[in-house]
């Protein structure tokens, strides 16, 4: 599912580089990426999703050599194959819950917003306990509810991979476990691969694969 080999990456402005000798995450796996701040966890997600391009090496995601794609093709790949869940949720304050869930469909012409998509969004909202909140604005939701909207938005395009960047970082323990359970449940139901960045070592036993980013290869700061 995810495969990185001999990857060397550094930001154009310098100061940070990430080297990955070899990394493989099988399809349908539930993986956690750990490491101290600044170790390159987010950069790893960016490489896998094609937001960043490595200087050398191979990055293969869902059977596609992402590093060889043009910027336009990487964007198209990203929005159709990958779902993102961010730490700050990053919902749009001016869109209601339903529109936030359907947001990816407003951003790329390869995604067509039709009746079946709307029906899928309603189903997802129902599964995630958001059915009665569809016309609410994010400001009217609790943290846990916002996180559930963010999960629904990541899943609505039926991606093959979910990349979650510390999605439970701002939640209280009870809500955190609830959100994780929902995320796991939805990924398992759809056989979707999950790669989640976390600082919380207490959660690691729930993952089938742990990736220590610091151990992937020599990192220079």
């Amino acid at each position: 599912m995810i495969s990185l080999r001999d990857v060397r990456f550094e930001y154009a402005r310098g100061g940070f580089s990430l080297n990955v000798a070899e990394l493989a995450v099988p399809s349908g796996a539930r993986a956690a990426a750990i490491g101290p701040s600044g170790s390159g966890k987010t950069t790893l997600l960016n490489l896998i999703s094609g937001i960043e391009r490595p200087r050398s090496g191979e990055v293969s995601t869902a059977g596609v050599r992402v590093d060889r794609l043009s910027p336009a093709a990487r964007r198209s790949f990203r929005i159709t194959k990958i779902g993102f869940v961010f730490q700050e949720f990053l919902l749009l304050e001016y869109l209601d819950v339903l529109d936030n869930i359907l947001y990816p469909y407003r951003l790329h012409r390869e995604l067509r917003l039709d009746a079946s998509v709307r029906s899928r969004a309603h189903r997802l909202a129902s599964d995630l306990g958001l059915k009665s909140l569809l016309d609410r604005l994010p400001a009217e939701l609790s943290q846990g509810e916002r996180q559930r909207v963010a999960i629904a938005r990541a899943l609505v395009t039926s991606p093959t991979l979910i990349l979650a960047d510390e999605p439970t970082g701002t939640l209280d323990p009870a809500t955190k476990q609830q959100a994780l359970d929902l995320l796991f449940e939805q990924c398992e139901a759809r056989s979707t691969t999950l790669l989640m960045v976390t600082h919380d070592h207490g959660l690691l036993e729930q993952f089938g694969q742990i990736i220590d980013v610091e151990a992937l290869g020599p990192t220079e700061a």
Binding site: S49, I51, A72, R75, S76, F77, R78, I79, T80, I82, F84, F86, E88, L90, L92, E93, Y94, L95, D99, Y103, P104, Y105, R106, L107, H108, L113, L137
Partner: protein, 393 residues
């Protein structure tokens, strides 16, 4: 594109106060200079066309602009009057037709204009309802007066007292509305026309009362050598009717009675030149060409308008800068949102499209608002601006 517009609409609706403020600012920026320019042009043209339709105007020496404004546009400027004899003198030259204009009184907020029957064909005014002036006490209403006051032929209209708290002053005269003029789209629409003698009666220069020859001793104080002195019991008429019209009279020589101005309509160009020649050195009179007077007024307005345009464009520029600043600040505040878009897979072009749609919608709404504003101003603004110019002149 549909999705970009959808997102833009949702964003603008969510921030409706900011959007409204920007749209209004842009509307003013876009609309006001153009509307003011168009209105000013239309007003100047309207003023000039009436002045051009009035060949010559005779009045007391003084401000020619005040004379034209009062006699042509019926805006009271308190011009010193000439006399009926001056109107007769114009006739007497055999060079022109003289039409008296007596202004100064009002009737329920509209100017009362005393004139002669020649005025109506001269201004090409036609009766829409009723008939023209036939006897003293009749009045003909301009179309706007009739519409505003809801009066038509058969109704009555009181002149406004010139000295409201002076009990010894002139009492209002009850006028009979005998006709309403067709709309002329000018000052004639907003005037009440009477015969010049009726205007004098309304001013208190002529009056009617019960027959003193038949008055009893309770009214008559003294009869001596054909002069009768009556007390305050004498019945004074405040309405001219067929039965009392003969009792109305003027003391003294009516040729000395005041008129505000006289329109002189020369028979031809040669007559016009000759007539103007006769008044070149007149010590107390001036014979002006209203078109020249209004033209000089228009030149002043044009100069003022240019200054106003510079001010407006400066304000407009400041508004545009403010708009750009607000948009740039807004985008900076939305940096996280824009970053999320690109991380999800949205192209920079699409981001630009969404932002562009927001600007386009606001500019579109501003143009629409400016258009509606322009239409409203075209509908009502010309009269308002004309009024403003004439009152301020």
């Amino acid at each position: 594109m549909r999705d970009s517009i959808y997102l833009a609409v949702r964003y603008l609706r969510h921030h409706r106060a900011k959007t409204l403020l920007l749209v209004l600012s842009l509307s003013v920026f876009l609309g006001l200079p153009l509307v003011m320019r168009a209105m000013s042009r239309a007003t100047q043209q309207s003023l000039l066309s009436r002045a051009e339709a009035t060949p010559l105007l005779l009045g007391k020496k003084g401000s020619s602009l005040d004379l034209v404004v009062e006699a042509l546009y019926f805006q009271l400027k308190g011009v010193e009057p000439i006399t009926e004899a001056d109107v007769d003198a114009i006739h007497g030259t055999g060079l022109a037709l003289g039409i008296p204009i007596r202004t100064g009184l009002m009737a329920r907020g509209f100017p009362l204009v005393g004139t002669s029957l020649d005025y109506f064909p001269f201004r090409k005014l036609r009766i829409a309802e009723g008939r023209g002036l036939a006897m003293m006490g009749d009045c003909v209403l301009g179309s706007a007066v009739s519409e505003t006051l809801g009066l038509g032929s058969g109704d009555a209209l009181l002149t406004s007292p010139s000295t409201l708290f002076d009990l010894a002053g002139v009492y209002p005269l009850k006028l009979h509305v005998v006709g309403v003029l067709e709309p002329a789209h000018g000052p004639d629409d907003e005037a009440v026309f009477v015969d010049v003698k009726t205007a004098w009666v309304a001013e208190g220069l002529g009056h009617g009362h019960q027959d003193l020859a038949r008055a009893g001793p309770d009214v008559v104080l003294k009869r001596q050598e054909g002069t009768v002195t009556a007390n305050a019991k004498l019945v004074q008429y405040n309405e001219i009717t067929e039965s009392n019209v003969d009792s109305f009279h003027f003391h003294g020589d009516p040729s000395t009675y005041p008129v505000s101005a006289a329109i002189a309509v020369p028979h031809d160009e040669k007559a016009s030149i000759l007539l103007r020649g006769r008044f070149v050195d007149a010590p107390t009179r001036q014979l002006v060409r209203p078109a020249q007077v209004v033209d000089s007024l228009n030149k002043q307005i044009f100069r003022f308008e240019r200054v106003l345009q510079i001010v407006m464009w400066t304000v407009g520029l400041a508004t545009a800068v403010m708009f750009v600043l607000v948009m740039v600040l807004s985008w900076r505040l939305r940096a996280e949102e824009l970053r999320t878009m690109t991380r999800l897979g949205c192209s920079r072009w699409k981001v630009a499209q969404i932002m562009g749609a927001e600007i386009a919608l606001m500019v579109g709404a501003s143009i629409l608002t400016a258009g509606v504003f322009g239409i409203l101003m075209a509908q009502y603004g010309e009269a308002w601006l004309q009024n403003l110019i004439l009152r301020g002149s």
